[in-house]
């Protein structure tokens, strides 16, 4: 990858916006607004991939794939899944104040951890460069925030949004870890996330009809 062609400042700004939109996606308690925050986040990822692309033209294709799968299809499924009724998220396990604190701590912790120990995660020379270290740190932060949302949110739709964040983090890391990934593998990885989201929301639609709620705490038929 030719790193001299990259718009460094733009990449930095987008990376920062990415982290902010991730926190917003996790913390906003209105599902529709949260999905809007997610959509903005997805668009930022597309922009980020495109701004890495001058150094590696294959990334234009990645950006195109991300636009279709993450910024168009996934939000479409999410809005359809949320429906037109009351979109207040069910009370999560952790209250708003502590949750923001946890999210910020996660953000700082993961960012710092990845940034300093990047050599372990990314054995290639490319990833040792400052810009790609930042990219990896941002990616792992988004991943951690997504995982946090999946683990602590009761609302099934919110857990799906968390899952989307988690997957976005993974895909972003591929820019630094696997820039030479062939199109078939990339397409496989990207399209599976959309199918997962579609299937999960389809099943959640069934849950809503059968249980009358999307509260995962209501799913208590099976234990042990």
């Amino acid at each position: 990858m030719n790193t001299e062609l990259l718009p460094v400042d733009l990449i930095r700004t987008l990376s920062m916006l990415l982290v902010i939109t991730s926190v917003a996606t996790v913390e906003i308690r209105r599902l529709r607004l949260s999905a809007v925050a997610y959509s903005i986040q997805a668009l930022i990822i597309v922009a980020l991939l495109a701004s890495f692309a001058p150094g590696n033209p294959a990334l234009y294709l990645w950006a195109g794939t991300a636009l279709l799968t993450k910024a168009i299809l996934t939000p479409y499924f999410l809005f359809r899944g949320i429906g037109s009724g009351d979109d207040r998220e069910l009370k999560p396990l952790i209250g708003f104040g502590p949750s923001v604190l946890v999210a910020v701590l996660l953000m700082l912790g993961f960012y710092h951890l990845t940034h300093t120990h990047v050599a372990l995660l990314a054995p290639n020379e490319l990833a040792q460069q400052e810009l790609f270290r930042t990219n990896l740190a941002v990616a792992s932060t988004v991943f951690a925030l997504g995982l946090y949302a999946v683990l602590t949110r009761r609302d099934a739709i919110k857990t799906v949004i968390g899952l989307c964040l988690l997957e976005n983090g993974v895909h972003l890391s591929l820019v630094s870890l696997a820039p030479g990934l062939p199109e078939t593998a990339l397409f496989g990885v990207a399209s599976e996330v959309v199918v997962t989201v579609y299937l999960l929301l389809y099943v959640i639609g069934g849950v809503r009809r059968e249980f009358g709620t999307t509260d995962t705490f209501a799913l208590r038929e099976l234990h042990w």
């Binding site: 870890l177 593998a185 389809y202 249980f211 042990w224």
Partner: protein, 508 residues
Amino acid sequence: MTADPAVVTSSLPVLAFLVPLAAGAVVLLGRRFGRVLAQAVTLVTAVAVLGIGVAMVARVVAHQVLVAWANELRVDGLSALLVVVIGGIGVLASVYSVRYVDRPAKPDRPGETIAPHRLPVFYGLLLWFLATMLFGCVTNNVVMLYVAVEATTLTSGLLVAFYWDRRALEAGYKYLMLLTIGITFALFGCVLIYAAGAATGGLGGGEALLLSEVRRVVGLIPSGTALIAVAFLIVGFGTKAGIAPFHPWLPDAHAEAPTPVSVLLSGVMIKMAMYALARTVSIFYPSWPELAVFAVGLGTFTMVLGVVLALAQDDLKRLLAYSSVSQMGYVVAGIGLGTYLGCYGGLFHLLNHAVFKSLLFMAVGALIYSTGARRISELGGLARKMPITSACFFIGAVAISGLPPLSGFMSKLTVFLALARAGMWWAAAVAVVVGLLTTVVLMRAASAVFWAQPAGQRAVNIAVREVPASMWVPMVILAVACVVLGVMPQIAYPLLDRAALVLATLGR
């Protein structure tokens, strides 16, 4: 040890997954032609896949490695073993589902009905489920291996939730959510293998994606990276393979899915994930042999936890699901040793478990079909009314308990010997104790359901009859296989030998 096998270009690896993929599309597109077309296409396709698997085995046993698409697809002994297991169980599960799924009442929920237009969807997804598993077994591309394993989750997700009631939906949601998160870790692991392989500088452009090539340069990968990659792979593929402590999705999904799907999940799918785990982690063994101790520890923990949880079950399908967790522990402990004997024992147990766990699930499915009940406390005294089912369940129970002369005895014995030979007496002792506990679990269930006087009123009042032939014939075939593999374990030797040599990186 013999010379390296000859690498031959072949269309078999391509056909193995394209045939069921195309057939699945035909069934889903031809939904309006109804269930008969769907069933016919499914049966023919499953038989074709089995035929492809047998052809692969013949070539592999003759010391060939089959490749296609410029080494993107690669079939060695290990892949051929999995393909033939998927094909064989696939045929029997398809035959079994003809009567089991195709009837208006849902077997475990009397009175409810399945809309007829949903049946072709069942068969279409079943074929795609087979196709994705087969693709995972023939691909040589590390990232596509992840794609295949995740694809098996997607194709089977709606099969798990097929009955679309409260229990099935809960199981389906948990299944899709937990496995997707788990498998994401495997993606990190697979990408790390690729990135680390590429960074060694010893491989050309796309070669770092090919497992067979990364294997050659694995010694150049830094230890820290290798450790992280292995950890991610174990969490990722381990979740899918039902290894404790990543197993909680397994009993829900395996118990709530329609029985033919339970057969495929417990009998085949977790093996395919185990294959992915062994395929990827084994490349690190030559440089980091200390991984073996960790793997055996994980295996014994899985064995113990699985059997202890199985002891507490009243629901027969959940009991079998937890016992699958426990039995996967033996496979992990055997393959995890990294020695030829350990890998041979682990793979032999993988094969045997596919046979007897499918048999046991089918027998429990037969009970559900005939009585509508699946709790041990609701059943009793069925040996006379359902003689074939009870005999088959009993054979399966003896085999899984590891009692001679049936198949489980031979494979468990091999694992015990391998553990002892590697000096891990503690693990061998745990494995023996778990074997005894498995006997208790299964025999207690068998005696309560088939021989004891029924505890409740329910079983007596229903006019219980033996299941139709399309359901008991697959069971009898599997029961015979349990006996044959136990009495003549050498018939599996040529294939298991080729498969074990692929994984045995730490000598004999």
